[in-house]
């Protein structure tokens, strides 16, 4: 119910929302949880295992119970904590884990079967028969398990990412965080103040006490206003710092639009920030822990601080009559605040016999809550009084306070282990904190408001001093400074189930069972019972579980230790981790200089090393890709074709030692390559396996241009840089990539020269005599455009590669097509390129597959013995040069129209398809329009000696089994007459 006055909500504005199919009203400033409580809704979900009715346990991000599915369609978001969902008009949420309805859930039968569904139930029950696991048990368990459901529709909202830098990152904008930000902000430091809440102030917004005669929330607002005016301070509300990573880097998620029905156009739903800090001040506060007692999970039972927050911040009481159960003075504060707001407090039940007096309600000192009632919501509690008698109290809500745990999660992300502090009966940050992290306020175990304010200012000044920034601590406002008075009390002994971990349905009984069965280490306890393994990471449950295990083992809590908190602090949506990198923006796209022209021609593109390359150019009437590719191959071999080969890597190699550098980088010789000539080169890895092949053109004595395969452009450049910088730093060599600087086209076919002569300026003689096979030159084209011409051939035809500055690439392809019209010049794509290189027997990526040597490739003699080069020595390993080593050969099917499957393995006729009979494999296969037959190349054991033999190419994947003849890999023009023509 909504109280008549108070609260930090805008009562003048009403927001409509829907939960579980019913319509409600709330106000700006509400969370979904506060608005539901204001509307009298306590039942918000069902538990994971027993499907018990559940309401809110907390008022913040530590909430384990009130999980809902928010929104619908592609925006549906499961496991959303109602306690942190900022209410907006039109919000709709659905309960999860309930069928057919929240009030009547069929799987609540699990609750009746709880004696069987104890910890370890799965491990024990589904062990046998083993065959049942995959087909029966797992599908059933998977259907029953899980929290909420994900949408199958794509998320329509954009997400973003970014990077921030600061001197001081302050995590948490409660009293210590605000005071720290004020101190550092006034000192001129670059400050980021991040808080997961949409309203800064932390507990100041939820408490009733004054700070310097102001309401705590007003004081917080005043400080925030000053911080906003400081240009060196960045305030980041709705931002959860979820992880402390290496070198002072933090991950944070800013919920930019989660408080809106739909993000504004162009604006992200959430942003992932990577924050680079010089120092970090953790002011994450503390989290109140519950006490375990029988049936302590009914809707209406929550932490006392949550009850206080709902009353003070949101002017909401979950019920007209409430009770409070505590082991420390903070529970008294809750009772006092409730009474001050006009809420009837049935009793204040304090486990301490010496509890301080309470005003306005009955104090039951030395008493314990031993049971509760109410199926879908709390109706009453049973109290065992100090004198042993029991008493029933009617109430609709119960606030429980078992003490406060400093919020140490982020201090543990670099394996810091907190230490037990008896004074507050809780763990405090200790050990190796993340680099540059300092802890202040309640997160450090300082619980009074005065202490948190003072701590924030002091620790901020300390952090800045480390950075050489002088800070003057602001005057401290007056604030309460009550000591922490607590008598640890973890659970009420009972035969009934008492919940520790509400999200994973772990009870005190489960911990006892774990102990009984020998799972006593905290890490074993966690995994055996699943305590703390839910999405809340046990923020409200770990401590209770540890304490009970300590009690059972007779060890202290300090000796029992803690499990490890890991990122993320709270769940992070996968979408925000991806940021903008989704769909077609998953990775960059590289466009060739002829891309726009090719698109106009209707080219079909394929992605190669992020490049979009034209795969083939369909023409009207062509119904299959084969028709287009066959035409392109035939036209090129008959007259002339043109292909964009810009994507091949180009590396400019200069320096007085450039030739010797290449001599050492390639396995074949380069030192004596004349200026104006190109040579094919093969690079080996250190281990002697073939790495990449390409050409090196010598433009001057001290200047080469090396080409690489498209996919290996970057790896080869990196490899050469490594060699230059680390292997041979005394060589005078300079490298730089020029892949993008030149638009390069292959012009191939018997009429290639005739076509080029129309484009190359007349001053340059490109006749066969003047510009023979493997010549290169810097020339001009089209009346003076600088260009480079290489007479090299991948297709096996008379061919050239012509390069111009990239900006002229589009114009050049159009010019080539125009000038080549009289020769029926045909653009060809990567498929035709592939067919022609297979016809010619040229190795490509399929053959340079990371397993093959120069010997395998038929280039064993290229590995020069007259010089040393990378990989040369290891390429001569005995095992790589056995008599039956694989050799590159060609294959022709006995029936020319029988397809040879790429990847097929080679077998003798009649041999079984087993590994022992494997003779090699097919690497590349295609239909050759030139030969009017399917052909292939691949590796065959002792292949060169088996020419003319008949084998089988069999694919266990496709079931194809084809008789093939072993032939030379050079199907077309084996003598090379065409390319020298």
């Amino acid at each position: 119910m909504r109280l008549k006055a108070g609260g930090q909500i805008d009562r003048d504005t009403k927001l409509s929302f829907r939960f579980d199919g019913k319509h409600y009203k709330g106000h700006p400033g509400d969370t979904l949880a506060s608005a539901l409580l204001a509307n009298g809704v306590r039942l918000m979900g069902r538990s994971f295992k027993y499907h018990r009715p559940r309401g809110v346990l907390t008022a913040g991000s530590d909430e384990p119970n009130a999980l809902v599915e928010l929104r619908s369609g592609g925006r549906q978001e499961p496991n959303t904590r109602a306690t942190v969902v900022e209410l907006f008009d039109g919000l709709h949420a659905a309960p999860q884990n309930a069928w057919p309805s929240l009030r009547f859930d069929a799987l609540a039968i699990n609750d009746k079967l709880s004696n069987f569904l104890t910890a370890g139930f799965y491990y024990k029950t589904f062990m046998w028969p083993a065959a049942f696991w995959e087909k029966l048990y797992e599908p059933i368990i998977r259907r029953a398990a899980g929290l909420g459901s994900i949408t199958t529709q794509p998320d329509p909202d954009p997400y973003d990412k970014g990077f921030l830098h600061c001197d001081l990152l302050i995590i948490g904008a409660g009293p210590s965080g605000l005071m720290a930000a004020l101190t550092a902000g006034r000192a001129g430091a670059r400050v980021i103040l991040a808080d997961e809440d949409f309203r800064m102030g932390g507990r100041l917004n939820a408490e009733s006490y004054a700070i310097s005669e102001m309401a705590g929330s007003d004081w917080a607002a005043q400080i925030v206003a000053e911080l906003v005016s400081l240009p060196n301070v960045r305030l980041m509300p709705r931002t959860t710092v979820f992880g402390a990573f290496d070198h002072g880097i933090y991950g944070a998620v800013e919920r930019v639009s989660d408080h809106l029905p739909v993000p504004q156009t162009g604006k992200p739903r959430q942003t992932l920030w990577r924050i680079y800090t010089r120092r970090t001040l953790l002011c994450a506060g503390a989290l109140e822990r519950p006490i375990a007692f029988a049936n302590n999970d009914r809707p209406g039972i929550m932490t006392a601080s949550a009850l206080r927050a709902y009353v003070n911040r949101w002017a909401v009481s979950p019920a007209e009559t409430v009770a409070v159960f505590t082991n420390n003075d903070d529970g008294h504060r809750t009772a006092a605040d409730l009474i001050a707001k006009g809420v009837k407090v049935a009793a204040l039940i304090d486990t301490r016999p010496d509890a301080p007096k309470a005003a306005g309600t009955e104090l039951l000192a030395g008493a314990q809550v031993i049971d509760t009632s109410g199926r879908l919501g709390l109706t009453g509690v049973t109290v065992k009084l100090a004198n042993g008698q029991t008493r029933k109290l009617a109430c609709g809500a119960l606030g429980v306070s078992g003490g406060w745990n400093p919020n140490v999660s982020l201090t543990c992300h670099q394996r810091g282990r907190p230490a037990w502090e008896e004074r507050i009966a809780a763990f405090v940050p200790a050990g190796d904190l993340p680099q540059g992290m300092i802890v202040a306020g309640a997160a450090g175990g300082q619980f009074s408001t005065h202490a948190t304010l003072a701590g924030g200012a002091e620790k901020a000044a300390q952090a800045l001093t480390d950075l050489g920034i002088t800070a003057t601590k602001p005057d401290l406002p007056q604030a309460e400074d009550a000591p922490t008075r607590i008598t640890p009390f973890w659970h009420v002994k009972s035969d009934k189930r008492a919940w520790l971990d509400f999200q994973n349905d772990v009870t005190v009984k489960d911990v006892k069972l774990a102990h009984q069965e020998g799972f006593r280490s905290v890490e074993h306890l966690k995994r055996y019972t699943t305590l703390g393994m839910a999405t809340d990471q046990g923020k409200t449950s770990n401590m209770g579980g540890l304490a009970i295990m300590a009690e059972l083992t007779g060890q202290s809590i300090a000796q029992t230790g803690t499990t490890m908190f890991r990122p993320p602090y709270t769940p992070v949506a996968m979408g925000v981790l991806a940021g903008r990198s989704t769909g077609q923006d998953f990775r960059p796209t590289r466009l060739t200089p002829s891309h726009h022209w090719a698109k106009e021609q209707g080219a079909v593109f394929v992605e190669v090393g992020m490049w979009l390359r034209a795969q083939w150019f369909p023409r009207k009437g062509e119904t299959t890709w084969r028709e287009s590719v066959d035409r392109e191959v035939s036209a090129t071999r008959a007259s002339v074709g043109v292909c964009d080969v810009t994507t091949l890597g180009k590396i400019d190699v200069q320096g007085t030692d450039a030739a010797e550098f290449l001599n050492r980088s390639y396995c074949n010789a380069f030192a004596k390559l004349p200026v104006g000539r190109v040579r094919y080169g093969l690079m080996l890895r250190e281990d002697g396996i073939a790495f990449d092949d390409g050409t090196a053109a010598r433009l001057a004595e001290d200047h080469f241009v090396v080409t690489t395969t498209t996919a290996n452009a970057v790896p080869v450049y990196r490899h050469m840089e490594f060699a230059r910088q680390c292997l041979w730093p005394d060589m005078d060599v300079q490298l730089i990539s020029t892949t993008e600087a030149w638009a390069q086209y292959a012009i191939a076919g018997p009429n290639a020269r005739k076509l080029l002569q129309k484009i190359v300026d007349p001053a340059f003689d490109i006749s066969n005599d003047a510009f023979p096979f493997m010549a290169c030159a810097e020339i001009t084209v089209c009346n003076g455009c600088p260009a480079r011409l290489f007479r090299i051939s991948f297709s096996g035809e008379l061919a050239y590669e012509l390069a111009v500055p990239t900006r002229y690439g589009d114009a050049l392809i159009r010019r080539i097509m125009a000038e080549g019209a009289e020769f029926d010049v045909t653009p060809y794509g990567t498929e035709a390129l592939g067919v022609m290189r297979i016809e010619k027997g040229h190795a490509a990526g399929n053959e340079l597959n990371g397993q093959t040597t120069a010997l395998n490739l038929g280039m064993g003699r290229m590995v020069s013995e007259k010089k040393d080069s990378i990989g040369a020595v290891l390429s001569r390993r005995e095992g790589l040069s056995t008599a039956d080593a694989l050799k590159l050969v060609g294959f022709r099917p006995k029936n020319p129209q029988s397809r040879i499957p790429a990847g097929a393995h080679l077998l003798e006729k009649g041999a079984k398809m087993i590994v022992a009979n494997d003779l090699g494999y097919v690497t590349s296969a295609c239909y050759s329009p030139t030969l009017e037959s399917y052909i292939a190349i691949g590796f065959l054991k002792n292949g060169q000696a088996r020419m003319g033999e008949t084998l089988r190419a069999a694919s266990p994947l496709t079931g194809e089994d084809v008789e093939i003849e072993i032939v030379s890999a050079h199907f077309v023009d084996p003598e090379g007459d065409r390319l020298r023509a």
């Binding site: 960059p588 466009l591 320096g655 300079q734």
Partner: protein
């Protein structure tokens, strides 16, 4: 003069300009680029030649320097990228090579990069969504290499603007990232 028409990296005949909030993103194709790497043992001589060419000392680590005509920024140990208006310096690489002679290796890089000029207020708010450079700490004359949208880029800070170089073939990807980030902020 040859008759091949240039195309911008974004695939048009004219450079593109986008204005989003206070930010203007302009493609700047009219720049010639040449990389200069000092030869081994020639570093000092090379720097003397570059100083003469540039009219000011070649920039130090992660810096940019502007002379009366040319400008340059540091891209590695004893390696610089020289810039000049393309209209007046289409042969920038040859000019630089002539100045350095055998003290340096010079490579034409004009076609390798797309250049964007970013102007307007709050540029750091745009850049913080693109790369991990600390724009708050970058002063005019600073030049850094960084990764934007998985692409290796150069970011040069001027008094009131930022010059951004990215790989030309991915100009559309980079442009898309700039536009998306700008819309995300403004």
């Amino acid at each position: 003069m040859h008759d091949l028409a240039p195309m911008t990296a974004l695939g048009a005949s004219e450079p593109r300009t986008d204005t989003i909030g206070p930010i203007r993103i302009t493609e700047a194709p009219d720049w010639a680029l040449a990389s200069v790497a000092a030869r081994l043992g020639q570093e000092a001589t090379c720097q003397t030649a570059l100083r003469k060419l540039l009219g000011t000392p070649a920039p130090g680590v992660a810096a940019q320097a502007s002379g009366p005509v040319l400008s340059a920024f540091w891209i590695g140990p004893h390696i610089w990228m020289f810039e000049a208006p393309y209209a007046t310096h289409p042969d920038l690489a040859q000019q630089v090579k002539a100045a350095c002679a055998d003290t340096a290796s010079v490579t034409d890089q004009t076609g390798a990069w797309v250049r964007f000029e970013l102007t307007g207020r709050d540029l750091p708010r745009l850049m913080e969504r693109l790369c991990n450079l600390d724009m708050g700490a970058m002063q005019a004359g600073h030049a850094r290499r960084s990764v934007i949208e998985h692409l290796g880029c150069y970011v040069i800070r001027h008094e009131d603007s930022i010059t951004l170089y990215g790989p030309r073939s991915s100009a559309q990807t980079l442009h898309h990232a700039l536009i998306t980030a700008a819309r995300s902020v403004f």
